[in-house]
Symmetry: C2
Subunit: 281 residues, 2 copies
């Protein structure tokens, strides 16, 4: 059992949670909580740390099968049993509660932290023929916004997220948490040259839309059944002129009252779900 | 000029930012930043505090009128001039920069804080005939989610927000900031008896929809051109059975991949904007 915060593994875990540079160098990120552990593809899991008390809960639970009359308590036990089965597959280290708490990024840690291999995708993997549905992000700064966009994007059926290098790190613990597991399933591409990447998408007949103050077409008017990509800009400043100029079409989200703009994750969600809506009909 | 954090007004300001109880007792809340000050109805503004350096910027700016070639710098100056004009209308106190920073709720304070009278609305003021479009919140816990729902709601054209008393305080500084000024314009009603309030809405022919796992009807299928209200539940647990049972119709937001739920503010936004979309057509 690890009982000291000066343990080399604990020090590295803290570093991985705080520094994008360390995550990039080691090619891994940290995911916290039962759901994030259970949904991680087994072959991506490199290390798992469980707190002493959570491990106790998993092994000492009353592991009865329950059918129709499953109580919330039984639900918890079933979930913990799944965790235990998975732990035996991946291997794990037990960490004393105090040390675990000091390493955790959350106020009420669930008692499980894992180091996961970062996935990598080529741009081509985000292009899925006529189903292509992309979110392109320029310099999004809020980790919660980014994670929420990935989560909602999976729900809406996007085929990938593209972002420039000044977008907040996708593997920031707060972003990871906000994705609620979608980070494992939504392909992404981080580009040094956002303009070049957009141009290459346009050459592949992807229709690029920008939510923009200059837009006159309402967001529900274009036909998104073809290959579609949406440009979403920074929370404070919107899209840069250079990137906005690359859009094929400016669209607007109608706003009543005195609202001047919507939150970036909300705008992105409305556009992605409008695409989903059209494609279902 | 106020130069000490033990000044009685500064102590009260801190109390008002931290404690819902103090806000309730005094019937006021605190709004921070230029935009929140400029959009506040003048008659609601009770006290205004400006930092020494921000006040200097407002009075010393080069106040030229600029027409077509307005630079961002001129834009800033025009905004600051508006602030100055408004300050002369409302009255203000200057606060030393250090004291201002210690009182402010933000990391980079804009230099203006104001104490605003809390608005109050009767339930009837949220009902606008066939235009009625309500968001009904049960125990929302995240201040940012709540503020974002109010902001997006104004944009989508809702006629009000109803919430139970275990929803996070609407006048929490983080909620206020997330509303981006919509708090001044969206009528709201906080109810001790959410079930009773919903029943009273149903007696007035408001159609009540709940986004619910039991829903089979996709959220874009019902006709929202009639009086409409959406029930949105707590981030972790969803709607309680008691409240969900009062809905006329369960709806679902289709989710692809392995997504089990969406963020509460995202779900609410999709429903409100779908209503807006239908009403425009």
């Amino acid at each position: 059992m690890i009982t000291s915060t000066s343990n080399q593994q604990m020090k590295n875990l803290t570093l991985l949670m705080k520094k994008a540079k360390a995550r990039n160098e080691q090619g891994v990120f940290v995911a916290e909580g039962r759901k994030m552990f259970l949904e991680a593809p087994v072959e991506w899991v490199k290390q798992v740390y469980v707190s002493e008390s959570f491990y106790g809960t998993c092994t000492q639970g009353n592991m009865q099968d329950c059918m129709e009359s499953c109580t919330p308590k039984h639900g918890e036990e079933k979930l913990n049993r799944k965790v235990l089965e998975r732990l035996n597959e991946t291997g794990y280290e037990i960490v004393s509660d105090n040390v675990f708490k000091s390493v955790s990024d959350t106020q009420t840690p669930q008692g499980i932290l894992c180091v996961i291999k970062k996935p990598e995708y080529a741009l081509e993997e985000l292009i899925k023929g006529e189903q292509t549905h992309l979110l392109i992000l320029e310099s999004i700064q809020d980790p919660g916004n980014l994670g929420t966009m990935v989560r909602t994007g999976e729900g809406a059926g996007i085929t990938g997220v593209i972002m420039n290098q000044t977008t907040v790190d996708l593997f920031n613990p707060k972003t990871i948490r906000s994705t609620m597991g979608s980070i494992y399933r939504v392909p992404f591409f981080i580009t040094k040259d956002l303009a070049g990447t957009i141009s290459s998408l346009k050459e592949q007949q992807v229709n690029v839309y920008a939510a923009h103050l200059k837009g006159t077409l309402s967001y529900d008017e274009p036909d998104y059944k073809k290959k579609t990509a949406f440009l979403i800009g920074n929370e404070g400043n919107g899209l840069s002129d250079e990137i906005a100029d690359l859009a094929d079409t400016y669209i607007k989200i109608p706003m009543q009252g005195q609202v001047e703009s919507l939150n970036a994750a909300i705008s992105a969600s409305l556009l992605m779900y409008e695409t989903g809506r059209q494609r279902r009909h």
